[in-house]
């Protein structure tokens, strides 16, 4: 096996090289606890009198085992997902297993704590299963076509994520234990976790072996695969169900560990593992190595840290630079013609009328947002000249519309530029970079003012943009590579967020509140500035509609039609970055309007670039204004951030649209 793989080249080399640190850390770890001999003795027959042997037997060895098992399982699931969905951005959590498990645990903790006594794993597993069931139900009629599965997964993730964030915002202290689970801590108190995982992973690996040959067919396009007599629907179902089973088992035991399942398959693929079999074997090994080394490294330093740093968060923090380092060095087939993404919905016959109706809807929503509200004496209409209350509402309506506009336009640009339906301003990493800077500002500065935070956030967005440009300039901004860079930044953001939240101190609530995307903090001046900026930037996209019609057809077509690809991509990228940074500073990084609005405009039947842009912009504004109003009024005096409500409204509409396809 080894010789065979080594001759074939670098995936094996990459794995062996990356496992050297693991060996060193393993040795160091045992040495620090009394040497390798004692370690082995404690594993086999621990003496219950000696504390060091107890610790080795009940925590160190199980933890290492669970790390190896989880890393391997996540990477295996990642390879399967990426194969079935034909998308390098697919990860084990793409179908909503983790967010379903997370929401189930939160809801059970708050509403039915009795369920938790049955075992946390079962609650998590049930939640994850329900979420994935929903994804399958949404995509079933389209034969589990990759694009529909991915979209359904995205929207279910968003939806459940928004619900969890809302629960967390209102019950921060009660859910503080779950934040550690959410950040993926591998700490063990016995062999239970390993005993649950090992048999399930063995079953999973065996099933993957049986699926190997049929799964190879999925590399062909649908028509050729069907001509070989394969039932694509059931093959995909088998592949996805297997990946979900493995992921669900791991998530339920150790919590959410990001990045391994996304990065390991990509790294071995980038390192030259082309065939599915190779990717499965090396990806799985690399996943185990990556997670175990990260965890051992972390244990090495845990004594000097003032707060718990969960492993799941650190994998992102360490893996992100690794992926960034790899991206410029490796070849991607990024210039091929993309999958036909336009298959969503029929073109609407009279786009002009539709746009006008949307515009009227927007005006009505704005009027509603300004005039109808609750006060000390219940519901009442405000007269438009009542400035004393209007002064609180105008900035919020303006900011909601402006951020909806900017994110929707940025999302449309990016989805057309990359021809990837998972592309959204959040995925590009600009908002992630901005958010990292802001979170660090909130946590590290003693009492940061708004001005300082805006400055720090802008700086973060700018640095991220520089990284994006620096890493992708030589390759000519191939969209796939660009998005991978963004994914790396987003992983870093998730890491920072998880670490800060897992610490469980009262600042966490402030961070969640900001990340959830509220227009609460906007005052009149900044609202007007943002409004003008949004309008100007949106108008600036108008000259580019021809590019946007042509770019989704693939690089060769675009070149043949006389577009200078590098230049066009850079200009569009800069526009997206500016739009995203402005919007992030106003409403935070997680509003998802940028993902939803372009798809919703598509579902409405707007497919030409100009109409798509306009439609997405109008839908984005409408969604945010409505969401902002609903968030302020529905459970008055409590407020739900507009970003969350927008995800809930938009997500519901989106699911309804997917079902209708």
């Amino acid at each position: 096996m080894t010789g065979y793989a080594l001759r074939r080249g670098s995936p094996a080399m990459t794995c062996w090289l990356l496992s050297l640190p693991l060996v060193v850390l393993f040795w160091l770890g045992l040495q620090a606890q009394g040497g390798v001999a004692l370690g082995v003795k404690a594993l086999v027959s621990p003496s219950l009198e000696e504390v060091s042997e107890l610790l080795l037997h009940y925590t160190w060895w199980p933890r290492l085992t669970v790390a190896l098992l989880s890393g391997a399982g996540l990477a295996l699931a990642g390879v399967l997902m990426q194969q079935v969905l034909r998308n390098p951005l697919a990860a084990p959590t793409t179908l909503g297993v983790a967010s379903g498990a997370n929401l189930a645990l939160m809801a059970a903790t708050l509403l039915a704590p009795g369920l938790l006594t049955l075992g946390r794993e079962w609650v998590a597993l049930a939640g994850g299963g329900l979420a994935v069931g929903l994804v399958f139900a949404l995509a079933w009629r389209r034969g589990l076509a990759p694009i529909v599965v991915v979209l359904a997964g995205l929207v279910v993730n968003l939806y459940l994520g928004a619900l969890s964030t809302a629960l967390l915002l209102f019950n921060h202290e009660a859910l503080s234990g779950l934040l550690i689970w959410g950040a993926g801590s591998l700490a063990q108190n016995g062999w239970d976790g390993a005993a649950i995982l090992a048999p399930r992973l063995a079953i999973g690996a065996m099933a993957a072996w049986f699926l190997l040959r049929p799964m190879n067919v999925l590399e062909l396009d649908d028509a050729s695969a069907k001509s070989l007599g394969v039932s694509l629907k059931y093959l995909r179902f088998a592949g996805l169900a297997l990946a979900v089973f493995i992921t669900g088992s791991i998530v339920s035991v150790v919590g959410i560990i990001g990045f391994i399942g996304l990065a390991a398959p990509n790294i071995v693929r980038l390192a030259g593992a082309r065939r599915l079999g190779e990717r499965l074997v090396w990806g799985t090994l690399l996943g185990a190595v990556l997670l175990a080394s990260t965890d051992l490294l972390l244990q090495h330093f845990s004594g000097v840290l003032p707060t718990l740093i969960p492993t799941g968060a650190v994998t992102g923090a360490l893996g992100a630079p690794l992926l960034m380092w790899l991206i410029p060095r490796l070849r991607l087939q990024g210039d091929r013609a993309p999958q036909p993404a336009a298959a969503l919905g029929n073109r609407y016959p009279a786009p002009g009328h539709l746009l006008i109706r949307l515009a009227i809807g927007l005006l009505l929503a704005a009027a509603l947002g300004l005039l109808l509200g609750q006060g000390v004496n219940g519901w009442h209409w405000l007269s438009p000249d009542n400035w004393s209350l209007m002064q609180w509402r105008v900035p919020r309506v303006v900011a909601a519309a402006a951020s909806g506009l900017m994110l929707a336009v940025a999302g449309t640009l990016l989805q057309r530029l990359s021809a990837n339906p998972m592309a959204s301003p959040e995925v590009l990493g600009i908002s992630g970079g901005c958010a990292i800077a802001l979170i660090l500002g909130i946590f590290l500065l003693p009492a940061p003012t708004s001005g300082v935070l805006v400055g720090i956030g802008t700086l973060g967005a700018f640095v991220t943009l520089l990284i994006l440009v620096a890493l992708n300039r030589r390759s000519g901004f191939v969209p796939e590579r660009l998005l991978l860079t963004g994914v790396a930044v987003s992983a870093l953001f998730d890491a920072v967020r998880s670490v800060m939240l897992a610490g469980g101190d009262p600042r966490g609530q402030q961070v969640i509140a900001w990340l959830a995307g509220s227009t609460y903090y906007v005052d009149l001046t900044s609202a007007l500035v943002v409004g003008v900026l949004a309008a100007a930037l949106a108008l600036a996209t108008q000259p580019f509609t021809r590019w946007l019609d042509i770019l989704p057809l693939g690089a060769p077509t675009a070149r043949a039609l006389g577009i200078r690809l590098n230049g066009a991509r850079l200009v569009l990228l800069l526009l997206v970055a500016l739009l995203t940074a402005c919007a992030t500073l106003v409403v935070g990084p997680l509003s998802f309007v940028g993902l939803l609005a372009p798809h919703m405009a598509r579902l409405l039947g707007l497919s030409r670039a100009r109409h798509h842009l306009l439609g997405a912009a109008l839908v984005g504004m409408l969604l945010m204004v409505l969401a902002d109003w609903a968030g302020r009024q529905v459970i008055f005096p409590y407020e739900i951030p507009a970003g969350l409500v927008a995800s809930l409204i938009g997500g519901a509409y989106f699911m309804w649209g997917l079902r209708r396809l």
Binding site: V51, L54, Y58, T59, L111, P113, G114, L116, L163, A166, L167, L169, F170, N171, A174, G177, I180, W181, S185, A187, N189, G190, V304, L305, P306, R357, L358, G361, G375, S388, W392, P446, A447, P448, T449, S450, G503, G504, D505, P506, R507, Q509, I512, A513, Y520, Y521, D523, V619, V634, I635, P637, Y638, E639, I640, V645, L648, I649, A652, Y653, W656
Partner: protein, 310 residues
């Protein structure tokens, strides 16, 4: 879009009702404006519980359901007005009330600009960066709250009452020789331990007991560690009993039943006790007094067997 509206609306309302049902234990109570004095608005439980000690003061607070779920019904005055959750106090509501001032902890600086248009805002917290530490910082904080509320006299009374109480307790418990480790379970594998600058740590120092946690802590004086880290600490374990919170009961039962917990040296020798969580862990003097009372009570109980007495 237009055809889909009824469905969207239904789903939205249903969802929001679900969130509301999950999050709120009570519907908001709105204030009456028949009092002479205006409201003091606060976004922090440490400030709030200090304000509650002043007689007949009108207080508006965010996140009162969280506070009450810890400390039980009756822990807040009936005149309390709910202004939403702490990161988003409802500005329209505050604006329509008669507000004398806003007291906010430093982590909410982003709120200051908006709220300062309504009433003067001051930032206070017993856990902010300061040259004073421990009890002195708590005392200083209480004075500042009293000054802001125009109740300096009552603040001084509260402080001297607390001082006297602490000295009494110090005398009661002087016989307890072992270092104490204050533990709160977070999940099956992780605990919080409270260091010197936390509320429990401040009280332990104040009544001359020994705190076993000297490791690094955050600004609120606690650290999150995994249960195996407890093996290295030889101390009398005081576990904050959170089983009255339905959300925490399962965790506490699971940990205390687990094999690893039962193998801990302090657990094997019976050097652990449960302490009623009748205080807010990020609170001020009122919580400190309640914690001190409970602590002395459990340590003086017959089954508290210090290591060195064995």
């Amino acid at each position: 879009m237009i055809y889909s509206l009824p469905i969207m609306l239904k789903q939205r309302v249903l969802l929001l009702v679900l969130i509301a049902a999950a999050s709120l234990s009570s519907s908001p109570v709105l204030g009456q404006k028949d009092r002479e004095e205006g409201y003091i608005v606060t976004l922090d439980f440490a400030i709030a519980e200090t304000l509650f000690e002043f007689s007949d003061l009108l207080v508006a607070m965010g996140g009162e359901n969280n506070y009450r779920s810890w400390l039980g019904e009756g822990s807040t005055p009936s005149s309390l007005v709910n202004i939403g959750i702490n990161p988003y106090p409802n500005k329209e509501l505050i604006f329509s009330m008669d507000v004398k001032g806003v007291l906010s902890p430093p982590q909410y600086t982003r709120l200051e600009e908006g709220l300062s248009k309504i009433a003067p805002v001051e930032q206070l917290s017993p856990y902010r960066e300061s040259s004073l530490m421990g009890w002195d910082r708590m005392v200083e904080f209480t004075k500042e709250v009293g000054l802001f509320a125009g109740r300096e006299q009552e603040a001084f009374q509260l402080i001297s009452q607390a001082d006297e109480h602490m000295s009494n307790l110090r005398e009661t418990i002087s016989a307890f020789p072992d270092p104490l480790l204050i533990i709160q379970f977070l999940d099956e594998r992780h605990v919080r331990v409270y260091g010197h600058n936390s509320l429990p740590g401040t009280v332990i120092d104040r009544i001359d007991l020994d705190n076993a946690w000297d490791g690094p802590t955050n600004r609120w004086g606690f650290s999150v560690i995994s249960i195996d880290d407890l093996f290295k600490i030889h101390a009398y374990f005081v576990v904050v009993d959170t089983s009255h919170l339905s959300s925490r009961r399962a965790v506490q039962e699971d940990v205390m039943k687990s094999e690893l917990w039962s193998l801990l040296p302090s657990v094997q020798t019976g050097n652990t006790t449960l302490l009623d969580a009748n205080f807010w862990v990020f609170g001020a003097i009122p919580s400190a007094m309640r914690f001190a009372e409970s602590l002395v009570e459990v340590l003086s109980a017959d089954d508290a067997r210090p290591l060195s007495r064995r």
